[in-house]
């Protein structure tokens, strides 16, 4: 029963990560991504997925997907009809599933964040509807596959569980909201385990959209650089297998890390621009800390939203400064969008997973392409690969429409 909920535990459950899967332009899987993010590798290249010849920007962080998907319960027919976004989602879900050691069967909530679902299929539908108005071939498949719920159901069918499915579309905060929402469910005893994360594939509509706003940089993005001139788009997926600590312990699961805080707020200033003071961003970070029971001084690193647009980065820098107080001058901060671009609905999930990797490996993710840090950023911009003793990390995600979310992760001993 979704409502009324079961009687909540007297103290909220602790929530741990027991599996993780990731696909970005750095590669498919934990190892390729951990190595890439640890080194601060960048993965931008000319766009090949659609025509960008008339766009101002011509690069993005395209992912190279393996030719074959992992063997699951899906038929070859179902796999053949899959679009790129679903393939990335399935790759990440399968990796998280295998790592968690979960078995098929039964109810298992799937919480996904996405901005576009299978938008490329929607584009193909419209193209054919306009160019060949009487041709219906494959149109029904495109309509069905374009919708995010179809992609989620494919994951259920592939891995053999029954859901339910929740899809949050809060722009670029979607992935963080999905993980945060799953965290709430587990804390309050709504489930013992959930699969949560985000996915988005590059598509022409979104690329042209950001280009029309002149928000894309023609060169690889440079978050927090004094000369930053816009974001770079990327694509990917990240899924986390989350479960209550009690459940994980009962089955002797390997624990990768713990999620300890989540804050979500709304910036009402403008549809696409944050309030310059960063009030809502500050409120999200503060709420996440309050729920985690940690003070800003106990946070060892911030994975910034850091899109590299002039406005986002200055607003976020102001918010981090207000949130961290005197600690700001020694606080390590970076934006891993410098490596894989902005993954939109997947960004929050991928960046939470980067934090998880860094906590496991005891390193800080660098951004190598900020040659001239903006002097307005008073924090320590991590620009070189760095080993560090880190215990708690915070990840920010801020989206169009003022959707702000912060997640806090803790190292598992």
């Amino acid at each position: 029963m979704l409502f009324p909920p079961p009687t909540p535990p007297s103290d909220p459950h602790r929530v741990v990560v027991t599996g993780a899967g990731i696909v970005t332009a750095l590669g498919a899987g934990w190892r390729a991504n951990a190595d890439g993010f640890r080194a601060g590798r960048t993965a931008f290249r000319p766009v090949t997925l659609f025509d960008v010849s008339r766009q101002r920007c011509k690069i993005a962080a395209e992912a190279d997907l393996p030719a074959d998907l992992p063997v699951t319960r899906l038929s070859q027919k179902a796999i053949r009809r899959m679009d790129r976004a679903t393939r990335m989602l399935l790759l990440a879900a399968h990796e998280a599933w295998v790592q968690s050691g979960w078995s098929p069967g039964g109810a298992l909530p799937l919480v996904l964040g996405t901005t576009g679902g299978g938008m490329a299929l929607g584009e193909a539908y419209l193209r054919q509807a306009l160019q060949s108005p009487h041709a219906l071939r494959r149109q029904a498949t495109r309509v069905a596959g374009y919708q995010a719920q179809r992609q989620a159901l494919d994951v259920l069918d592939a891995l053999g569980f029954l859901g339910p499915v929740t899809i949050i579309s809060n722009a670029c905060a979607s992935g963080a909201n999905a993980i945060g929402h799953a965290w709430e469910w587990l804390r309050h005893g709504r489930a013992e385990r959930t699969l949560a994360g985000g996915h988005d594939a590059l598509c022409q509509l979104t690329f042209a959209g950001f280009d029309s706003l002149q928000a894309l940089s023609p060169a690889p993005c440079r978050p927090f650089d004094a000369h930053r001139d816009g974001l770079s788009l990327g694509e990917g997926a990240a899924l986390l297998a989350l479960e209550t600590l009690d459940h994980a312990r009962r089955r002797n699961a390997d624990i990768l890390g713990e999620i300890i805080g989540y804050g979500a707020t709304t910036d009402t200033h403008h549809l696409t621009q944050p309030h310059p003071d960063g009030d809502a961003a500050l409120a999200a970070m503060t709420a996440a800390c309050r729920r985690a029971g940690v003070a800003p001084g106990e946070v060892d690193y911030v994975n910034a939203h850091g899109t590299a647009t002039p406005q986002n980065d200055s607003t976020e820098a102001a918010a981090i400064q207000r949130w961290a107080g005197a600690r700001v001058t020694t606080l390590p901060v970076s934006s891993t969008k410098s490596s894989t671009g902005h993954l939109l609905g997947a960004a929050g999930a991928v960046e939470a997973l980067v934090c998880l990797m860094a906590l496991r490996g005891q390193w800080l993710p660098p951004q190598r392409n900020a040659a001239t840090p903006d002097p307005a950023c008073r924090f320590q911009l991590v620009r070189d690969p760095t080993d560090a003793a880190v215990n708690v990390m915070l990840s920010n995600s801020f989206g169009f429409g003022g959707a702000n979310a912060s997640l806090i992760l803790r190292r598992w001993p």
């Binding site: 029963m1 979704l2 409502f3 509807a129 108005p133 809060n170 709304t266 009402t268 003022g402």
Partner: protein, 348 residues
């Protein structure tokens, strides 16, 4: 009693602006008239059932955020303001922390279609004014801006059942004190591309648009008599091992077994796979049941919202003591909800 009470209802539908128009259309019982909409490349038009323009220009359109907003945003705001009623000013002043949950299936499709058409013609001149409005959560953002609400704000995407998932999310927020009140809105907008796509799956179905809103709070009804959200069933997805029929049966099993004095609002349109599954699941139901889509057309998440609004309205007006809402969705899930009459213990 679980203490989640429906404090207000709002609707924009093909029947008109306001819950009263929706109620009257259902009472009349006749399908609303359709209109043609041109389908590029075809001689024959498609047929749709749009919400009419407002009787007078709504004052909220003067807000800077709503000047360029699409029709769906306008419908969402209108339905939400009707549901919030006198609490609107309290939210705007910051005296009431409001959670916002907006639910949709096709989303802001008109601006998306227009922007992509412009992109195909020439991406250099594609309008930067259109693109931000294509994002699923643009309407929820506009509503938050109008209400000056900085609390949690989710846009949920799915088939019709997503509206009921939204009810459960809002109820959770209230129970966990993440918000003092919540507005849940289901909405869709009309476009030829959706009408075209709908035809592929539900031949004969008429695409419609609008929004429905429910305003939830914790505590007792303010007037001494009100509607309580009694339950939202689990969501039962349609999967390889759980057919549409199985999902509908599972949903039905979590709702009321007794029918005396109760009402049922069904979701599916005759002739669809969902209709067969829903009919089978409710085959033992002998009390009154209604199917608003046969009158209002298919508006996905808005349709589910209208089902809930009508159910609550019927209870509020004393016509029934309880109402079940059954949603066997287009392509994702079966899910149901139940509302019951609640009378305050201290009310004379």
């Amino acid at each position: 009693m679980n203490g989640i009470v429906v404090h207000g209802l709002g609707a924009v539908s093909p029947a008109g602006w306001g819950v009263a128009a929706l109620r009257d259309a259902l009472a009349a019982g006749a399908p609303l008239p359709t209109q043609p909409i041109a389908r590029p490349g075809w001689q024959r038009p498609l047929h749709i059932c749009p919400a009419p323009p407002p009787p007078s220009r709504p004052p909220f359109l003067a807000h800077a955020r709503l000047r360029r907003a699409g029709v769906m945003s306008q419908h969402i705001v209108a339905a939400a303001l009707e549901a919030l009623g006198g609490d609107t000013a309290r939210v705007q002043s910051g005296a009431l922390r409001l959670g916002i949950v907006v639910c949709m299936m096709a989303g802001c499709v008109t601006y998306s279609r227009r922007f992509f058409e412009e992109t195909l013609q020439n991406p250099v001149t594609a309008s930067p004014l259109l693109f931000p409005e294509t994002v699923f959560n643009a309407p929820a953002s506009h509503l938050a801006a109008l209400l000056n609400s900085t609390a949690a704000n989710y846009t949920l995407v799915g088939d019709e059942g997503v509206l009921l998932q939204g009810l459960a999310v809002a109820a959770d927020w209230l129970a966990q004190d993440q918000a003092e009140a919540c507005i849940i809105v289901g909405a869709e907008e009309l476009d030829w591309i959706v009408a075209d796509a709908l035809r592929l799956f539900q031949r004969g179905a008429v695409h419609s648009d609008g929004a429905g809103a429910l305003y939830l709070k914790r505590g007792a009804p303010e007037s001494g008599r009100g509607v309580e959200l009694a339950r939202v069933t689990d969501s039962f997805p349609f999967t390889a091992v759980q057919s549409r029929h199985d999902a509908a049966e599972a949903m039905r099993a979590q709702l009321s077994a007794s029918a005396a004095g109760e009402l049922l609002y069904c979701s599916a349109l005759p002739g669809t796979a969902s209709h067969a599954a829903e009919q089978s699941a409710w085959r033992d139901w002998s009390a009154p049941h209604r199917a608003p889509k046969t009158i209002l057309g298919e508006a996905f998440a808005a349709s589910a919202a209208w089902q809930c609004v009508l159910a609550c309205d019927a209870i509020q007006r004393g016509e029934f003591a309880a109402a079940n809402v059954s949603v066997v969705g287009t392509n994702e899930q079966a899910i149901g909800t139940r509302f019951v009459l609640r009378e305050s213990e201290h009310h004379p």
